[in-house]
């Protein structure tokens, strides 16, 4: 597990720097990114902070001291991330609920061990809510990112095959697409998770299987248009192989679609997981799970509001930034909107 998590960090960083280099080399993309940064500086900054939190929570190793007076003798033998080491959740906890910045427990008013230090209060088991919320960023980015990585290749393969070759291939692919699209996606999702079992990977795979359809449709339609264009016809007349045509002429022209869909998919996946968590089949440590747990607290009297509010606010912040980014990306990458600027 340790190596998987650390390995993922290395891969993500490597991919990010590769993408950065690629963007720098290509003047069109370089230009687009510059305009993006000018349009949405705050969004980009917020997203980088979120990404950084997730990275901090991903780099982990076994060993080192746990917090002083720790009530947890097992933690020292488990892999703990940088975030864990910073917060020391084993000792930075109370016995039960406490309100944000409170000096005493919510019920019973016993004095806290860390009065005024829990910025977002503590949950029923006395765990710091701010820490749990930060931990949620990693889970959310993992769900969004991993699922999108599953969806995009499937959607591209099916969409291009259907759009470019047409005929029987198109019939077959479109049959599959319409079949999947006609099954209520939430039911299919739950059924898939029941079959695959619970867990982050399983949930991501299930989400991937149910949500590639819309992107595949878009790609198919776009490919239909692209394959009739003059330069594709010319390439075909010159005897360039189908594979080369797809790689050189079709795929690059679909890139903006992929980028925009990636961003939009990302937010819808995070949201879908929240609903799954509410139905009891979510991912451990996600905001959805926090909200699910907190739903009874909200009807308590006096109300325990900080759990639900913290998770919802974090979810809202991430989704808003991602959607704003998606919006801006479309403006920047779509040639039609470009002309108006």
């Amino acid at each position: 597990m340790v190596w998987l998590s650390n390995g993922a960090v290395v891969v993500v960083l490597a991919l990010a720097s590769l993408a950065g280099i690629a963007v720098r080399r290509n003047p069109l993309w370089h230009d687009a990114m510059r305009r993006l940064a000018r349009r949405r500086p705050i969004t980009l900054m917020a997203l980088s902070v979120f990404g950084l939190i997730a990275l901090l929570d991903s780099v982990c190793w076994v060993g080192g001291e746990t917090g002083p007076g720790s009530g947890d003798a097992v933690a020292a033998y488990e892999a703990r991330s940088l975030l864990d080491r910073w917060f020391e959740p084993e000792s930075f906890r109370e016995r039960s609920y406490s309100a944000p910045f409170a000096a005493e427990e919510f019920y019973g008013a016993a004095p806290l061990e860390h009065p005024g230090e829990h910025w977002l209060g503590t949950d029923v088991l006395g765990r710091d809510v701010f820490f749990l919320t930060l931990k949620g960023f990693r889970v959310a980015l993992l769900i969004g990112g991993f699922t999108s990585l599953i969806v995009i290749p499937i959607a591209l393969a099916f969409g291009i095959a259907a759009g470019y070759f047409g005929g029987r291939v198109d019939d077959a692919v479109f049959f599959l697409i319409s079949t999947l699209a006609s099954i209520p996606s939430l039911l299919l999702l739950i059924a898939l998770i029941m079959v695959l079992g619970r867990g982050t990977t399983q949930v991501c795979i299930a989400l991937g299987i149910t949500s590639w359809v819309s992107l595949a449709r878009l790609v198919r339609a776009e490919t239909f248009r692209l394959r009739e264009l003059d330069y594709v016809e010319a390439a075909r007349a010159l005897g360039v192989s189908e594979f080369q045509i797809i790689l050189r002429h079709i795929l690059p022209n679909l890139a903006h679609l992929v980028v925009i869909t990636f961003v939009l998919l990302f937010s819808s996946m995070v949201l879908a997981e929240t609903i799954l968590a509410y139905l009891g089949v979510g991912v451990d440590g996600s905001w959805g799970q926090m909200i699910d747990r907190a739903k009874d607290e909200f009807s308590r009297d006096p109300v325990v509001w900080w759990n639900l509010s913290a998770a919802s606010a974090a979810l809202f912040a991430l989704l808003l930034s991602v959607n704003l980014l998606g919006d801006a990306l479309r403006d920047v990458l779509d040639p039609r909107t470009l002309r108006e600027l």
């Binding site: 003798a73 097992v74 949950d123 088991l125 968590a277 699910d292 009807s299 006096p302």
Partner: protein, 662 residues
Amino acid sequence: MLQVVSACSNDPYPSDDQTRKVLYRAFPEAPKTLDPAVAYTTSAHAITGNIYEGLLEYDYVARPYQLVPALATGVPEAVSAPDGTIRYHFELRPGVRYADDACFELSESESSKSESSHSEIPDSPGSTPTTRSVTTRDLEFSFQRLADPAVASPIAQNFAKIRGFRQFSANLEQRRERDASFAARPPHEQYALVGGIEGVHLLNELELDLVLDAPYPQLLYWLAMPFTAPVPWEAVAYYDGEEGRPHFRDHPVGTGPFVLTRYNKQALMVLEQNPRWREWPQPAPGHIAPLGPRAGSRLPFIERVEYRREKEAIPAFGKFLQGYYDGSAIIEESFDRVIQEDQLSSDMAERGMRLEKSVEPGIYYLGFNMDDPVVGAPAGERGRKLRQAMSLVIDIDELSRLFLNGRGVPANSPVPPGLFGYDPEYRNPYREVDVERAKQLLIEAGYPGGIDAETGRPLKLGFDTPDTTSTAQLRSQFHIDAWRSIGIDVELRATTYNQFQEKMRNGAFQLFRWGWIADYPDPENFLFLLESSNGRTRSGGPNTANFSNAEYDALFAEMKDRPNDERRGELIREMQSILERERPWIELYHPEDYSLVSPWLENVKPFGMSYPMLKYYDIDPDERARLRAEWNQPIVWPAYALAGLSVLIVVPGIFTFFRERV
């Protein structure tokens, strides 16, 4: 406008019922069946328990629970015969009659043909009878129905010790398979042709003996539940669900204090007083004496009970607070508003609400798989010390505070309060929190600081729970955190209930959380959960911990069929001390039931087990009407605000309209 508003009332009931003793109750889901031989849920017993009456019942007020006669004239003693059989002699009260029902009219001509021995006493000569007296034949018929495989009673196996009970089931089934014309006859004729149950022995119309092959004192508790209540064969034959007649499971006919007069599963169930009920002298004065001056007066006090369907708990609770239901469980969402520091909140106390607490005869516990090589018996002394250490860190008071709102009596042994053998003074030394001692025990067990010498890492155990909801996971996390504090790494494996049961059957588990609610108030019903012949993986029995201890088994064998005497108490104490040392369970708590009672509802005493006592309830309708009016003052200002708002919207529109026209 003002008049219109104040004339409106939110009272959902007809106004002339205001002055009558009508009890209002809410139900979320109608019971699946009201057949007394089959109905086995709390919601069904709430109805059937008031319509049917058995030979025995529980005393309403006495604790520990005490059996008293109902239709019988006394609670019988077991008489053992030299051939090893046990005999109970029952005498039925004379003059017990069924509630009036159409089935008696229509089957009258038939009955005079085939059942000439029946003593039909028409109410007035010349009219068709609408009722008839109960005889021992009706009791026999009820026992036969329990044995009938087609009735599919969930508790039939508890009567298997009655001589010939199983034989009767087998004969009946064989005969039905062989002979289609036999199977088409009404049940009572089939039973008569098969020959009855040998151990249900009718002496005459009012006396009957039950003969058991082996001692089974718990039988009497089953007789206090509606299962064996007399059932008229006419009703079973007549209400067959054909030709527009309801099925018997939807049309109960019994001898109890109430009659079901309306039964709409989607909306309303109405029980009304049964005028035929108990025409013999009332129970001896003093029986309900602790309940006030009503001792000795004629029961029941309330005229009618209306059960209205409320699918959602929150609106039902809201109507209770408005006075439109007379009692309510406390919903989780409002708990902190209603209960403060284990007492009614000042708001509730001002309204005159009463809080009734009762401990249910049940227990929740964490169990170890005693077949497991690490935590179980194969690990010998190491395993025992490990279990003791793990038991010493579970803080039940904290668990109760965080998750149960304080509703739970900490459990020191499997026997819950209210039962024979429960000792309120008894403190289990391994059910206190003592982290230092737990750490010491772990060292002695060979896991210093929780470290398993084989792996060099904290000892890893699995913890199975049958609940995947996130609140249940938090509760499991509470246990896991406690074990982590002494260095034991416990992994939660939450699954669905079916998967959980599958794992329990296969023995593929180390730790688990489960509970048990008693069917009848006898310590045997709890201590048998750890008897070795009931082992889950070996025999599929309820001993999920697979606990096997020869000494315990011997004590249990001696204890189970003994009367509640001193020796029995001693045996139970010895068994407790074995459990204390061996720790197959970490006992958590006995669940406690809190319910709210409206100020006008009287004579209410919670009972714990599903056993409705509506016949003792009384209502003060004038007080209710007064308080309802007080609690439901119409709030008028939103109406005025809305009116004002609409004027503000409309007036500029009118102005504009006229300006445009000009």
